[in-house]
Structure formats: structure tokens, C-alpha cells
């Protein structure tokens, strides 16, 4: 296969060089003469009607002596020629077919707008050869014979050949389009990586860096305050769940133990009574502080109050926690009495009082547990709220608020 592929390449290469060499020789004349066809076609298109070309033929013939001056000018404007090169072929074909179609006319109009007015004179001169071929077959054959050759050949191939030669390698390089892959050098060689994926990776890394930076060194006192507040908030989020779980466990335990007789229940539950009371107190205190922090009740705004009373925020959890706390404290005396059962059994001598106290305690204990679980559910719905943290971060309002406060008395 390789043998087969190579020979054609070799065959192909020489003609390119030859062509380029030939074009080197021909370049200058070609450039001069190319302009004529391009502009000629433009004129031919502009005057797609047969009347205009005929008028232009006469001046061409008369101005033959002026030809050298326009050629020099044309040399200075190769880029325009190159741009016009491809369209000319299409236009010439169109003109040859004598199709005054809408497309060709449109293209020609566009070109007209772009070309400067000075060129009109030159175009008139160059229009003649093409027109002569089409309409005046033999009239200017002698003058335009050389021009004709130049016109015919550049139309297709010469245009392409002339331009690339000095930059032939560049033109090839330009043709190669950028890949989506980057090749990154590693120890083992080059590793292929998708550009978009790499970009995403870098973006993520930068994001992580940005996120990490503020957590590192604390630059101001308020940042330190906020960081401690965030730690407390996270810790209390755990405490909320723990409290609810303990409440659930406590209710079930109590109901299991209540299968026994009252005194039996007392003897079993006694060791738990005071620790449970103390534990519920500290847990409820932490939960209440945390929920107060989250909804920052000391800094109420009108909108926040409205939303709170319509239960759109989790502020009701503060009320529930306070209710649970008060219930928990109000049965502290019964729990202390249970705690003292082994030390002072006289306290539980009266069976009627005992059963009534235990029943009261059971009910309040159940209510406490249910309230704790309810508050936890309410709070977990709005777990992202952190008004105290926001207030500490913003903090701007205090100055404004104070100016208002001070303005009124003054």
C-alpha cells in the first residue's frame, strides 16, 4: 500500500513546482492582466444588458496608448485581485451563459458598492476584451490576442497557483484546523486531553482554590466571629437531630416500661430520671439558641415578621422549642421525685398520688418528645436559613439604623 501511495505523491509534486516556476515567470504579466478579466467581468455583469459593453469598446480602442499607466496602478493592488479571483470565474461563467439571473446581478451590485469609484475608468478599459470575445469577435482580436490567453487561463487554475506559491507552506498550515484535543507531555509521552474537559477541570480547580482561600487565614475580627458562628451552627444542626432522636427513644422506652406496675416502673426508671431531665435541658437550650440564631429574632424586619406569622419561615420552631423547654422544666419536680425514690421512698407512698403523678409525667413527657420532633421537622425544612450569619456579614444596616434612631430624638 505504501508503495502505491508514494509514487503518485512524487508524480504530483513536480507539476506543482513546475507550475509554480511557470507562474513565477507569468506572475507579473498575469497580475497585470488578471485585473482586466476581473474588472471586465464586473463590468460585464453590471452591464448585463448588451448596450453598456458596446459603449465601452470605443474608449478602449482609443485609449490603448494609456495602457501602461493603469497597469502600474494595478500592480499596487494585488490583494483586491486575489479577492476578486474566485468570484471572477463564477461571474465570467455566468456572463458567458448570458444569464442575467438575480444572483449574478446581486453579486455584481455588492461588488460595485465595495469597489472605489476610481476604478471605473480602469474597468472600462478592461471590459473590452471580454466583451470583444462575446460580441465583436474579430474587431480587436489583434490587440487582445495576448490578453485573451491571459484571461482564459487564470480563470480557473492560475489564480490559485499564483497566490499560494510564495506562501505555499503557509497555505497548507492554514488549512489545518485546530483539534479539540490538547497533547500534554508527561513522563511516558504525550497524553491526549479534550480541550473542553481540561477547561472544566481548570475552572473547577480555580473554584476550589477560591473557596479554600477565605477559609484559611482570617483577616478581620468579623470574619472570625462568622467562622465561630458557622461552627456553632453546624454543631447545632447535629444537636437538633440528636435531640429528636433521643426524644423518640425516650418516649418508646417510657411506654415499654409503663407495662410494669407503678412502683416497678419507678424502680426501673429511677436511675434515668435526673440524667434525662438534665440532658433534655442542655439539648433543648442548644436547640433553642440555634433556632433563635437562624431566625435572629432580635433583629426582626417587617417582612420577616409577616412571613413568620404566616408560617412561611421556620420561626415557629423557636416557639415549639420554648414550649418543649418549659414543659421539660415543669416536670423537673416529678423527675426529681422519681430520682429520690430509693433515698426517700416516703414520697411515693400514696398509690393514688403516685399513679396520678406518673400519668401526668407520662403525658407531659410524650408532649415534650413530640414537640421536639416537630420542631426538628420544621427546622429541617428551612435548614438553610441563617439570618444572624447574614446580619453579621452585611452589618451595614446598623449605621443607617442608628442615624435614623438618632435623627428622631434630635
Amino acid at each position: 500500500m505504501a508503495d502505491n501511495e508514494n509514487p503518485p505523491k512524487k508524480k504530483k509534486l513536480p507539476p506543482v513546482t513546475q507550475a509554480s516556476e511557470e507562474t513565477d515567470v507569468q506572475k507579473r504579466p498575469v497580475r497585470k492582466k488578471k485585473k482586466k478579466p476581473t474588472e471586465a467581468t464586473e463590468n460585464g455583469e453590471t452591464g448585463s444588458t448588451a448596450t453598456t459593453p458596446k459603449k465601452k469598446k470605443a474608449p478602449v480602442a482609443t485609449e490603448d496608448g494609456d495602457k501602461p499607466t493603469p497597469r502600474k496602478r494595478k500592480k499596487r493592488k494585488p490583494p483586491e485581485q486575489a479577492e476578486d479571483g474566485q468570484p471572477t470565474s463564477a461571474r465570467s461563467a455566468a456572463s458567458q451563459e448570458e444569464v442575467g439571473g438575480s444572483k449574478t446581478s446581486l453579486i455584481s451590485k455588492d461588488d460595485k458598492k465595495t469597489t472605489p469609484k476610481k476604478k471605473v475608468k480602469k474597468k472600462v478599459k478592461k471590459a473590452s476584451p471580454r466583451v470583444g470575445d462575446e460580441f465583436m469577435d474579430a474587431a480587436f482580436a489583434a490587440d487582445l490576442s495576448t490578453i485573451q490567453e491571459d484571461i482564459v487561463t487564470p480563470d480557473g487554475k492560475k489564480d490559485e497557483d499564483v497566490i499560494p506559491h510564495p506562501y505555499s507552506t503557509e497555505s497548507i498550515v492554514l488549512k489545518s484546523q485546530p483539534l479539540d484535543n490538547l497533547f500534554i507531555e508527561t513522563n511516558s509521552g504525550f497524553k491526549r486531553e479534550n480541550k473542553t474537559k481540561l477547561a472544566r477541570k481548570w475552572a473547577e480547580e480555580e473554584r476550589f482554590k477560591q473557596e479554600d482561600q477565605p477559609e484559611g487565614p482570617v483577616s478581620s475580627t468579623i470574619e472570625f466571629a462568622i467562622s465561630t458562628h458557622n461552627v456553632f451552627k453546624t454543631f447545632c444542626l447535629f444537636i437538633h437531630g440528636l435531640t429528636a432522636g433521643i426524644a423518640m427513644w425516650h418516649i418508646t422506652t417510657v411506654y415499654v416500661l409503663l407495662y410494669h406496675s407503678d412502683l416497678d416502673f419507678l424502680s426501673h426508671y429511677r436511675p434515668l430520671a435526673l440524667p434525662v431531665q438534665c440532658m433534655f435541658y442542655i439539648l433543648l437550650v442548644l436547640c433553642t439558641i440555634s433556632s433563635c440564631d437562624r431566625f435572629d429574632i432580635a433583629n426582626p424586619t417587617r417582612r420577616f415578621l409577616l412571613r413568620s406569622f404566616t408560617l412561611q419561615t421556620g420561626t415557629v420552631s423557636i416557639v415549639i422549642y420554648f414550649a418543649a423547654l418549659i414543659l421539660s422544666l415543669s416536670i423537673a419536680n416529678i423527675e426529681d421525685r422519681m430520682n429520690l425514690y430509693n433515698r426517700y421512698p416516703d414520697l411515693w407512698l400514696d398509690p393514688g398520688e403516685t399513679s396520678s403523678k406518673i400519668e401526668l409525667w407520662t403525658n407531659i413527657n410524650t408532649a415534650r418528645g413530640c414537640l421536639i420532633i416537630l420542631a426538628w421537622i420544621v427546622l429541617s425544612i428551612t435548614s438553610t436559613t441563617d439570618r444572624l450569619g447574614q446580619m453579621l456579614k452585611e452589618g451595614d444596616d446598623f449605621i443607617i439604623g442608628d442615624t435614623v434612631e438618632l435623627a428622631n430624638p434630635a
Binding site: 466571629a225 442542655i282 437550650v285 440564631d293 426517700y344 446598623f398 442608628d402
Partner: protein, 161 residues
């Protein structure tokens, strides 16, 4: 104020609050002897006094206070200050009452004393408010704008003169 200076102060304030919470929660389980109970009560009350002193030292450290605009600062933190003093009063009252009831027998069942349970409930519930407002005040005093000069303070100062 420097972070290095504010950090230990804030930790101290948290520590004082923690002591108070632990005392409030577990003092019922620490009724070994009347003297121990008394010492614990005293420690708790002293902690509240320390907390108040720390907050006022922070107040004195602010630029607003040093500029003579004490009213602004008091207006700003009046709720916290009031709650703290109320809680301190409740705390001392309850401790004195409980100590007189328990002095002879630390584990005595004292809840039948009329009025004791309501005071107990109010003191313990007020403690939550004290923790919340004290913590909030401590965090708010971390705002660096309290400790630096500003156009607003100069305007207020001019108004006063």
C-alpha cells in the same frame, strides 16, 4: 481591633457561656454536699459577672465609646445588657433560695415550696435568652467598624456638640 486580640476574648466569652449552661443543666446531679453546691452556685454567678465585665471592656475599647458616644452603644445593645442583668438577678435569687432550702440536706425534696417551680422555670428559660443575646452581642462586637474612625461617627460627634 486585631484578630489576635479578639480571638481569645471571644473564646473566653464562649467558655463563660458554656460554664453557665453546664451549671444550669447538671447542678441537680451535683448535690453532694452543701458547700460544693454553694461553691458551684458562686462560680456560676461569678461567671456571669465576668461575662458582663468582658462585654463592657469590649465596649470601652470601641471607637464610638472613646469618642464619647456611649448612648449609641447602649442603644445598640440595650436588649442584651438588660437580659443579662435580669438573668443575673434571677440567678442570684434562685441560688440564694435554693441554698437556704438545701443547706441542711442537699438532696432534700424542695419542689413543694410554693413559688419555687415558677422561679426555677423562669430562670432556666431566661437563661436561653441570656445565652442567645450574649452570644449575639459578642459576635456583633467583632464588627471592625466599631473600632475605627468613620465619617458617620464624626457627623454624630458634630451633632452632639
Amino acid at each position: 481591633m486585631q484578630v489576635e486580640r479578639y480571638r481569645p476574648i471571644l473564646y473566653l466569652q464562649y467558655f463563660l457561656l458554656l460554664i453557665d449552661i453546664v451549671m444550669n443543666s447538671f447542678i441537680e446531679m451535683l448535690r453532694f454536699e452543701n458547700v460544693i453546691l454553694l461553691v458551684l452556685f458562686v462560680i456560676q454567678d461569678v461567671c456571669i459577672i465576668f461575662a458582663v465585665i468582658v462585654v463592657f471592656l469590649l465596649f470601652f475599647n470601641t471607637y464610638i465609646f472613646q469618642a464619647g458616644l456611649v448612648n449609641i452603644l447602649i442603644n445598640k445593645f440595650k436588649v442584651g445588657i438588660m437580659v443579662t442583668f435580669a438573668y443575673f438577678g434571677l440567678n442570684v435569687g434562685l441560688h440564694v433560695w435554693e441554698m437556704t432550702l438545701r443547706w441542711d440536706e442537699p438532696n432534700k425534696y424542695i419542689w413543694e415550696t410554693s413559688g419555687f417551680i415558677p422561679l426555677f422555670v423562669i430562670q432556666r428559660t431566661g437563661a436561653v435568652l441570656y445565652y442567645y443575646f450574649y452570644k449575639r452581642t459578642a459576635l456583633k462586637l467583632g464588627d471592625p467598624r466599631f473600632y475605627q474612625d468613620s465619617v458617620w461617627i464624626r457627623k454624630e460627634f458634630d451633632k452632639r456638640r
